[in-house]
Symmetry: C2
Subunit: 458 residues, 2 copies
């Protein structure tokens, strides 16, 4: 870490509560990167630990006056470098803003951005209510980060993504103005859909300081089915047959590499020889869940499943879901990884998964594929040895080819992690010049100085 | 109708297929207004009946070159004057663009904007799939208009609004560029959420020429409950108790004026003395729907329902839903009407409905209230005699007071119809100066000449 010079921070320090401005390099170190482990992170000028919308406004006003870049940060669990830091910026850390207020009658919740997703779920559960979106990082990701990236998760196949639950927000704009968009109303079409525009904007249009989320009644206990397959095509064929006529509440896929990584970690008895495994849940009412699970079993068997196991014991089912959730940490034990997030129309899922296998074979690189299969959203992790000089370049080549493959199949370069700094080089090619220009027009209109998370997305 | 002068239309006529440009005043007359019956409509310079995205581009390019206003138009079923015409504009009529292509494997549909909502539903149903959003005008409203206004409907209480189903679109921008946003991918977070921004933009940011919609498996046959109440508070109290723990697939309210208007029309035996009536449906699997309907019955009885009737016969249930759908035409037989669309957080529904009753009494004006009660979205129709010189001004006073009441309860001036030309005077007061400025910044960035539906929304 090297020292960074900049304007006097005295006015900023004066405008904020005591100890809100951190400039000690050691203390700032924990605020420099997210889970994308970006090696190119810089050194911030300061970290502002906001405790209110007014604190964020003070930080933005100071930055606007001096033309300083701002990097908003929730829990730092992002996977695409959306909160990686550049030299001389101000990090606006929202991890101290964690208030959660549930309104059980309107079945809505008002949450501050630093609250963890799991904390929002827990607060809702106290009233028999449920906030569905569930990234695998549910226990340690912030709701503000979820909204900033339009995060997905495992239940999205039936319950949709973060955007579907965001009814309103308070957001601090580039000039320090705080605006309240939407609110606890299930329908509101007065003016442009600004709430939805800010969802997924990755801190480039404003800094979200409060969100209003829709809640629904508590999920019923789910029945779980696990099926293994000798070929990838059998597994993905089952996915298409299931989604064509049913809405399971979870439909996840793990390939052989993931199965073995998890089995190394858990010793739970997964079939190490299977080419792929599906974990499917139904949260329909009792008898109907049983009949849905039976139909799914039949589909899997018709698609040559080597083993099909089902249970209506929620704890036993949760063990399989937990196995799915720990794929990323388990694969990270195998070496350095580059994590992909490509998605395709569900009809092209087989082409994507089989194509990734070809890339893996041709480049002789290990790729661990886990997928929210019912959404067509895959997370191939490219594993490499950082000590091998060929490791990183080969992994990068595989990363590039997987993205090209997804685009050629009508897919997206990022289904739920965001563009951040990791994928911004691919965005213009994916969107095309005209859509890119449309993005830029809105960005320029709302942040003419380009101080809001510059270097991310665009 | 008076003649309007303008630039030579020859280049426009030349750029488009034969007969696509209409200038005959009689033939243009049917394209001047929507169902808001705006008395102030003007006379267009021309109507372009587009049959492709390229046709729309040609019309926009011509208009951009000459600084002519464009008014996009689907089926003309809008209720807020979003496609009311001003003098000298070009109407871009999309009623000839009606192609519908369902992809059953990706469970998505690509539809042109002129296709009726009911036609999209029918095409999906051929594959065992369902497009949920269902405005009461489902049989004669266009899907393009639904997207342009982020239309709601009766099933939204469980299944969400139009925006929740729009995955992508092709849209012609103010300079004639056509861009494709999103696509048939269930998750895509690459770049800003532009698809969602265009949903509900009421033709002010671009002209939508194709939409990609998410489909879900066919709805199960619904069980239906009808309950009548001697007081409004009993009815709305039941709504809050139901939504707190259940997700019915429909939860509609009609007040005494609506009940009597519909009964005059149908003679189906509704209780003319009831202060309010709820129509509730459950589409859960058989036994579970029965138990949900039983729980709802108990809630209604606990809230002093005067009569509770339920049926699992879908045809019998549909007769009650049909009664609900014809409220607007039935009330229109009572006189001229001003139709409201105010919504509040569900917790404030009682305050809104009771407050409207007070306004009706104090101003001695008939107000017929029908509501998507589970969403907190109400449609008070203010009935007046156009021949009475006091009629219109009194109705206007009631209209204003109802909007003020909704705002004071944390509600919105429009839940699902849009701002259009009918409500634009109230938008700045509702949004406030800062949010209004944010709307304007985006409008100006995307349509600097202000040729896209000027006079609507802003």
């Amino acid at each position: 870490m090297t020292a960074t010079s900049g304007p006097s921070l005295a006015p900023l320090i004066q405008a904020l509560p005591e100890d809100a401005v951190i400039t000690d390099p050691d203390k700032m170190d924990g605020y420099r990167r997210d889970r994308s482990h970006d090696p190119e992170v810089g050194v911030p000028l300061a970290v502002v630990r906001a405790s209110s919308t007014a604190d964020v406004q003070a930080a933005v006003r100071f930055a606007a006056e001096h033309g300083i870049a701002l990097v908003p940060r929730g829990a730092g669990s992002g996977l695409s470098g959306g909160s990686s830091v550049m030299d001389g910026c101000i990090v606006v850390a929202l991890d101290g803003m964690r208030r959660i207020d549930v309104d059980p009658v309107s079945h809505t919740v008002v949450a501050q951005p630093g609250a963890f997703n799991a904390e929002v779920k827990a607060a809702a559960a106290e009233h028999g209510l449920w906030y569905p979106p569930d990234p695998s990082s549910v226990e340690f990701c912030s709701i503000g980060g979820n909204v900033a990236t339009n995060a997905g998760g495992l239940c999205c196949v039936k319950y949709g993504v973060t955007s579907d639950y965001v009814l309103g927000m308070t957001v601090v704009l580039a000039d320090g103005t705080a605006v309240t968009l939407g609110g606890p109303r299930l329908k509101d079409v007065a003016g442009l859909s600004l709430t939805k525009l800010f969802v997924g904007s990755e801190g480039t249009l404003g800094i979200i300081t409060e969100v209003v989320l829709r809640l629904i009644p508590a999920q019923r206990p789910a029945s779980t089915l696990v099926a293994t397959f000798a070929t990838l095509a059998d597994a993905t064929g089952s996915v298409l047959a299931i989604t064509r006529s049913m809405r399971p509440s979870m439909l996840e896929f793990m390939d052989k590499v993931c199965i073995n990584a998890v089995e190394d970690h858990t010793r739970m008895g997964l079939d190490r020889h299977a080419a792929g495994m599906l974990i499917v849940q139904s949260d329909e009412p009792e008898q109907f869940a049983a009949s849905e699970i039976t139909r799914i079993s039949e589909i899997c068997r018709r698609n040559s499943a080597t083993e099909v196991y089902s249970t209506d014991d929620p704890d036993e089912g949760e063990a399989f879901v937990e196995a799915r959730r720990i794929v990323l940490p388990a694969v990270e034990k195998m070496g350095a990884i580059m994590l992909e997030d490509v998605g395709v129309p569900v009809s092209r899922l087989s082409d994507l998964v089989l194509g990734i296998e070809v890339i893996s074979r041709e480049l002789e690189v290990t790729v661990a594929v886990v997928a929210h299969a019912g959404d067509g959203n895959t997370h191939p992790s490219i594993v490499y040895d950082p000590a091998d000089p060929d490791g990183q370049p080969t992994a990068q080549a595989a990363f590039d080819r997987i993205m090209e493959l997804a685009i050629s199949l009508g897919g997206t370069i990022t289904g739920e992690h965001g563009v951040g700094r990791l994928k911004k080089a691919w965005l213009p090619g994916y969107l095309g010049a005209d859509v890119m220009a449309l993005n830029q027009k809105i960005k320029s209109a709302l942040d003419p100085q380009n101080i809001l998370n510059p270097g991310a997305v665009y």
